[in-house]
């Protein structure tokens, strides 16, 4: 039996996930817990109930016992809400199933000069699934968006299958990295060292989180790591907290945007997205 992967979204026509217009596959599960994460439903590697409070009229129909096998884990009926307030984030599927779905768009993506991007969550959390997808998606332009938090073996094995890498660098300081993302950045930095020498096409991605990552100290340090390589700076998403309530979590950062300043000046070769 081929290993199943779990994804929480397939988004069509993504415009910031690599060259050309793309389809982005969001793989579920992430080893990091970045406090600014705007996809909280991508954090755990298990299917999860999403409750859209703004659509809910508290009619209680979803609490009526339904007997559906698929509803059992959630204690709610997933088929009871006419307003669509309940859904599941996390669909388990084999690489072959996913590849088949994506094949349906091959000609369009080629016409547009785009491709497929694996994002997440952290796609390197499900390396076998992603690897097998890549095998089955020959002919597509493939990209991956990753934190880089994986063993060198996993990292190199997957990255070698990709045409393009969007490699995050969030915080250069190990202590700060642990504090804000929950993990050590040493494995990430090691993988980045390899990436720079690998000959693969890549771009660095830096999320600008006010007062956390967008400080001159951090950006200067990241610029040192990035060198002459291209860096894409991503302004703080002030709506980042929007989905937390849906998964019963609380967003702890504010909704103030970045300061109005030219963040590219810290870098040799950076653009704002």
């Amino acid at each position: 039996m081929p290993e199943k992967g779990i994804i929480f979204d397939i988004k069509e026509l993504t415009v910031h996930d690599g060259p050309g217009p793309r389809i982005t596959v969001f793989v579920k599960g992430c080893p990091l817990r970045c406090r600014w994460c705007h996809n909280p439903e991508g954090l755990t590697a298990k299917p999860q109930l999403l409750w859209k409070e703004n659509l809910c009229v508290h009619c209680g129909r979803c609490f009526v016992p339904c007997g559906h096998e698929e509803c059992r884990p959630y204690g709610r009926c997933l088929h009871a809400c006419e307003r669509g307030a309940l859904s599941i984030a996390g669909e388990e599927m084999t690489a072959a199933q996913l590849a088949k779905r994506l094949r349906g768009y091959e000609d369009m993506l080629k016409m547009m000069g785009g491709g497929i991007t694996f994002s997440g969550g952290e796609p390197l959390m499900q390396p076998e699934f992603v690897y097998e997808c890549a095998e089955l998606l020959g002919g597509f332009h493939l990209a991956i968006q990753t934190s880089g938090y994986a063993s060198p073996e996993v990292y190199r094995r997957i990255i070698s299958r990709m045409d393009y890498v969007l490699q995050d660098i969030k915080l250069a300081d190990p202590e700060a990295h642990r504090a804000w993302t929950g993990v050590d950045n040493a494995p990430i930095l090691e993988n980045i060292r390899w990436l720079k020498e690998s000959g693969r096409q890549f771009v660095f991605r830096v999320p600008l989180i006010p007062g956390i990552t967008d400080t001159p100290e951090n950006l200067t340090a990241i610029a040192g790591i990035a060198g002459e390589h291209r860096v894409e700076l991503m302004p703080y998403n002030t709506m980042a907290g929007a989905k937390y309530a849906m998964v019963g979590m609380k967003y702890t950062l504010g909704s103030e945007p970045n300061r109005a300043m030219d963040y590219t000046r810290f870098f040799e070769n950076a653009v704002m997205l």
Binding site: E12, V15, P21, I23, H79, C81, E82
Partner: protein, 663 residues
Amino acid sequence: MSEYLRRYIVDKKHHQFRKDHPELEHLAERFAGEELSPKERMTRRFELAASLEEPVLLPEEQICFMRTVKKLPDCFTQDEWDEIKKHHFIHELGYMSNLSPNYERVIAGGLLAEREKADEYGVRIIDAILDLTERYRRKAMEEGREDIAQVLARVPAYGATNFREALQSFRIIHYSLWLEGDYHVTTGRFDKYMYPYLKADMDRGLYTRESALELLEDFFLSFNKDSDLYPGVQQGDNGQSMVLGGIDENGRPVFNLLSELCLEASRHLMLIDPKINLRVDKNTPLRIYELGSELTKAGLGFPQYSNDDVVIKGLEKLGYEHKDACDYVVAACWEFIIPKVGADVANIAALSFPKVVDVCLHRDLESCDTFEAFMDCIREEIGRECDEICGGIQDLWFVPSPLMNIMIDGGVYDGAKYNNFGIHGTGIATAADSLAVISKYVYDEKRFDAKTLIEAVDSDFAEHGELLPLLRNEAPKMGNNEDLPDSLGVDLLGSFAASLKGRKNCRGGIYRAGTGTAMYYLWHADQIGASPDGRRAGEPFGTNFSASLFARINGPLSVVRSFTKPDFTDSINGGPLTMEFAASMFRDPDSVSKVAALVKAFIDMGGHQMQLNAVNSELLRDAQIHPEEHRQLVVRIWGWSAYFVELDRAYQDHVLARQQYVV
């Protein structure tokens, strides 16, 4: 452009010159008392209105002529209309509309040359235009605006000799057609017939790109001076469409510097007129789509794209001559018509697909053993609906317009070279989704029976309410690239086209099937109750050729895939796939280029027509609460753009209900 002039018009300061005239009161009664012929009435009304017009030159404008006569009275009394309608089919207001006049000929040759060939009414109207022009010229002399006076000494009496004269001549003729009472007067292939004037002037060194753009913007402003006086379903629905690009009859691309300047002028002015359309084909370079997407980003709902590869072939299949088909333009919204020689009535009626489903649901479903048998009933019912629609259009009559008669080659009083009728096809996704529910759940899976479904629909889901989540949220929907609903959509459209094929209309023309809805997305939706797709009573259909409003759609690629499945060469009356993108999608140039690539893919895959909107919902919601703060906020409605705050609530809500794609 003069920003001062733009503000002047945006702030409606020019409205101060408008007047009501007692001379125009009870005009129809007086005409009736004298038992005047329709042509005599049209001519007299024009002469009277033109004589009441007062020349006004706005500060800093280069292109003049605007309405000061506020309201144009009807030429016929209500009793007379009632009598006329006993004997004739009257389309909309009864006056000529949705035509694309031969500006090219008249700008080049001048009105005096036309006067030689015109009938007595045409002669009188031309004289009235020239008289008003002369009064404008004298006014310009008085005010020391000699450049304007000089232009008016030449046009429109004589042929234009340069770009500015050509623009001014256009303006006067366009203004006059509206003053005659014609409406939805379109501008045709503007970049094709105007470019030679600009090019000659630039070759002579008279204009740079910048100064040409400035003049063009001044000219574009003129479309916005009187447009609130024009008739339409809502403010903004005035049909001043402009078509750019495309191929000529030899297959060569037309897109030129003027096309580019028009896209730019529209983007700078941020006004709802003229409404920009861009003709493209499989050879159109991405760069042109990128220029188009730059304009989309501005949020005006322009440009609307149409695919020459499909439209020309489709029109030829309907019997249009190759050179005419190659010259196609759009009418007020998206209906494909032929400029200069055509008198098609491209929006004469509409077929409601969901109504067909509703009729068969109640009449046939319980007695059909197979879904295929039910689909036969659907196809037959479409035929019957077409019988009824076409049978009801007999003895079509328009109020004869002497000036429009001059502007269409060979005249237009009793039709012209092409006299075909276009029928919209509305609610296709609602109908296809409803059929998908019947196919999947009633016949294949037997989850519920016909009686249950009918009871649910008839009670607006008060009964069997448990079906609603399934039907609304889990049933297959057109737009998700699923075979079942998509193929049913293809079937419906194909049956519609086949039903109209071979029918002759009362003017000797044929019928054309289309994919537009116009305002029927509200009107037809109110004619039926709920539908089997889980649509509740009172919920509108999608706009034109689009997914159902509440359908959960995978994304733009699936939509494009689903909505390029039909062979549009058999149903080419017009009606675009409409998609709304969050304004944030257009943040950087790279993203704009990627949206352009999607449009190009749609065209390359055989889509016929597409229209994209950059929407900022938060702004729209705020505008509903604080209209006074958002007077200039523009949205696309069904084939035209409007100032959001000037719309009725139902149309505002429809825009907000459409699914938006975000980054």
